[in-house]
Subunit: 342 residues, 4 copies
């Protein structure tokens, strides 16, 4: 079989483990050919191919990023995109496609499967952990680790200087990184998209805490956190209509409000791109490896339009249509733990 392989959307640690597993399993067990596409769907549209051999995947297991490159490109919204994709798949005689990506890539995969009839197996990756249908996506655990390490570091400097440190973490539609890194780093406050916050409650809590026993606090803010409707820090009235999420915007404003209301020395760190990079944790290498093997095995068994998923200790296959476009908010129990331990 000639199997196409691509990585789409933002990069993250563990993608190379998945690529390696697809190649090793495909070549070694079944004698398939694995045809990589560079830069996600863009490379499919442009016919930018890179046949993958065992040589290409040597030494990549513990590396971040994706050796195939990636891009944010959606064939169904680009002009002539789907036609270009179809043309490449035909020219390269691709019989099946393994797509590693997040929500956008999965959506594109559904569209391409529908329009071209290509057999597709998807592998979920996203540091935001917001792909439905799977307990965890590739990249999430490493992102939480990097974020927690940053909170650990900021902790010691916050304590030494008696400061409130606001740290902004990734998470536009869901606060997975913020909540998990907040619990792991022992943050005093965690603000997420799931629960619009009331800045007055936050500052009251900080004042209470500093009066009682502490001289510093850590406030973790997901970049998609929003103030509650009707609260005193409503965007519309104080900062104008708040549209697209801009890196750093919410944390800067939260810090200003805290400083203004408490008088505490308050500083901001926006962690940014480092959350995407570097050596993957073992759990992301393992998840990538398991998903890669499972995706090739699924094609071998004739399964198509499915996504590999982790459910408890098992790797299973779920229909793409059940997961595409679904939200995956942080469960209430986790938010409760974060609050209980603040």
């Amino acid at each position: 079989m000639r199997i196409g392989l691509l990585t789409g959307g933002g990069d993250c640690p563990g993608l190379n483990a998945a690529i390696r597993a697809v190649v090793k399993r495909g070549l070694g067990e079944y004698g398939h050919s694995i045809i990589g596409f560079r830069n996600g769907w863009k490379g499919v549209a442009e016919g930018d191919v890179m046949p993958l051999t065992r040589h290409d995947i040597r030494g990549v297991l513990d590396t971040g990023g994706t050796l195939l490159g990636t891009a944010r490109y959606h064939p169904h919204s680009a002009d002539g995109g789907l036609d270009a994709v179809r043309a490449t798949l035909e020219a390269e005689r691709i019989e099946a496609l393994i797509c590693i990506g997040g929500d956008g890539t999965l959506h594109a995969a559904s569209k391409v499967a529908e329009e071209t009839g290509t057999k597709i197996v998807a592998i979920p990756k996203t540091i935001d952990n917001d792909v439905a249908g799977t307990d965890r996506s590739i990249g999430f655990d490493t992102a939480v680790h990097i974020a927690t390490e940053a909170i650990d570091r900021i902790h010691t400097t916050a304590e030494s200087h008696n400061r409130v440190m606001v740290i902004e973490l990734m998470g536009r539609s869901a606060g997975w990184i913020a909540v998990q890194a907040g619990i792991a780093g022992g943050a005093e406050v965690v603000l997420t998209p799931e629960e619009p916050f009331d800045i007055d409650r936050v500052t009251r809590y900080l004042k209470h805490r500093h009066r009682a026993h502490a001289s510093f606090s850590i406030v973790v803010v997901a970049e998609g956190a929003v103030p509650a409707q009707g609260s005193s820090m409503e965007w519309e009235t104080k900062y104008g209509k708040f549209g697209e999420i801009v890196s750093g915007a919410i944390s800067e404003r939260v810090a200003e409000e805290i400083a203004a209301r408490t008088g505490f020395d308050t500083r901001v760190t926006v962690l940014g791109h480092v959350q995407r990079g570097g050596t993957p944790l073992p759990s992301d290498r393992i998840l990538g490896s398991r998903f890669g093997v499972a995706a090739v095995d699924a094609l071998q068994q004739g399964r198509t339009s499915v996504m590999t998923a982790l459910r408890g200790e098992e790797v299973v296959l779920v229909p793409l249509e059940e997961v595409a476009g679904k939200a995956k908010p942080v469960p209430e129990e986790l938010i409760r733990v974060a609050n209980a331990l603040a």
Copy 2:
């Protein structure tokens, strides 16, 4: 409520996160008293108590080990052990007990519950991940991380020197660390207690690999790995009856056999105690925190003789009797992935 708290068995990273969560939840939400016992069941038998306050748990979230100390002591097998435990529980007016431990501690917890009627909630911890009923126990992820890091390090030196490196990891009854670190570290061979190995097959594979393209190999050995019955490296005939597992024994012998049969320069590393220590990964801090909160909440709801457990994304309670003494071997799928990617 006066709640007793102990950590038993071998120490591991994430215990302090669980202790902290029990104290914060117990004191903060419900106004309970948390009475720590030093050094596991031994401290209960000896009445070695340490009432825990918020002050005691400051700064412990990211630390390894257990601030309560631990010991391998089983009240039901020690002379007068259960009586001593009962006496302490009465003297300290303990109404309920939260026990953090592995198989041995859970077994002791069942016995104590049975004999004394004490309400007990258990929290599973073990770097070996062999407690049944839960996807994961506290300490496992960090141990896999440390082991993988060691394999990564040994990888570069193996490659530079064209050597076969044998690395022994923990795991007496189950090969969880070996399989997961083996996948994550890209080991060529992984030997586990679950699958008795044939040294001839191992060396044939290594010779084939070195002839084909490589000049080095990594062989991961769980300390409880055993040669297959009737294979040419049977313990009984070559090394005498193999009784208790001794650290380093199996890896030294595997290395000798490989060197003798292949002529490759072969070296051994026994990772040992470092697998138990140091800063816990976020996932172990989070698991400890969730289990700690869930244990206190369980008591509050009148649940008893249960163990907190991770099932997929949820924390649930399972009856102690369903898990005590049960094995938890590595699932076949994981072993298949390890082999597929070797």
Copy 3:
């Protein structure tokens, strides 16, 4: 002897190692009393003391920050500051003072020694490494490590997305962190305060590199980097008078210029406070330990108004007056290596 001890200026990793060494050496070898002052010179002025025992320094060797707290306060510029300091030193019967700090603290130490006649030994710390007279100050190596780790992480994401990544590191008056992390992280461009840059040259180089063989680049910018006089990116004409250094300002502008002139997808990361925090590297723990022991020994030998310093493999004492207020720019050889390997 009653020895006062304080940490001043910004916190950094390795301070606790120095505090621990002063306490262990002072108490253990000579039977001195060590009186800690909280929050730097501010604590001296306010009489905020914390007598230090062996108990206080348990478990602090591998922790970041300073257990004494710190603040940016200069007694000689605060109203009545020097009088308040004198009063506290008399009230506490302090016979000698060990001051751990950067340029500001050393300057204050000279003033206090002059005005009050107190015996003073200083220990240099600064992540910026800009204290003259010593090869290295406490905290620098760890800061370089954190910065390099961030560059490593950004490297993989830059490569996956074909981006120019601009990363801003600390260093207002000297580019030590930028140059060392730039070399260690393999940055393509390193901009420092020592060498005003020409944005046209930078962008020409990036365009050349991307035409030739690469699709991504890393640009490291010290926060104190400045455009060259007369260059096309002069602050005065393009952005108005450039006064105080503001975190993020220079890197945002450099990124805008690069994007505008090259059309490359360009992103910014401002590393910020994480550079100050977390577990110190061994070399900072060792330097702190050596300086702490040396400072106590110096007082024992009657040396005063000196600073402990690393010179090659030796720890020596240098007169405070020889180092206070002196600059310590990055040597030309290091900048040459950074450029040679870009």
Copy 4:
């Protein structure tokens, strides 16, 4: 110029940074050809060459080991070794040779220079830090880091279990790693080749410590540590003549003696090969980079039979004859600090 390049002796982190620097500087600045030899002097004798291009050094800066491979082979002691080396150098028209290695490699370099007249510049590397003439050799800092991390991890498990943990670190002729990691890790006892130890004094100290306040201890042992003549643990009388250093031998015996004399629960960890491997610390990447550039520059300036060396903040060149065969023991001050802080 055609410049040969080899790495000899044991591998260590930072070698690839040096190789990369030699290639980048040689090709980029001067238009030289860089001819790599595989597996150290063995590859020179066997004519095993690998011309190095910019492509070969992509992505190696942060990797451990050596991309050239290495071996312990000395041309002057192998039969016909020097003749084979001369033949290869002539066949490959090598005009100069850059040798990266430890004591053995430097010695071989002197011999080859003498016998063949080849221009040679040496670059010192050794995790043991026992090359004279330079403050530091490539690989040492990373080894200390790995060893310290292991001590940190063992610390938490020692404390949790009230144990004496004996940890054996590398260092046959000098105790650099043991002393530095011992200081950084807060070890209670550090045994080195420099100072033959008296086991009675060690156990008396441990008993005193455990009586006074502690319930655990860390004992760091360099693999080349030896008991003092005439002490109660003399090798000759207790264990037979002690010849070659065997990994694990000394630590096992020290642990047995401690357990026998104190009754404390005592465990051994032999850290082994992990000390050589993995991602180099920034300081080793920087040192490798500086030495690589300096070696090429030295040849350009006609300097020969010299070694690059770090002296304080400078990189200098020292005559090979001044350093070959010289010992570099740990300075007394460092040992004093280790003892003072125990």
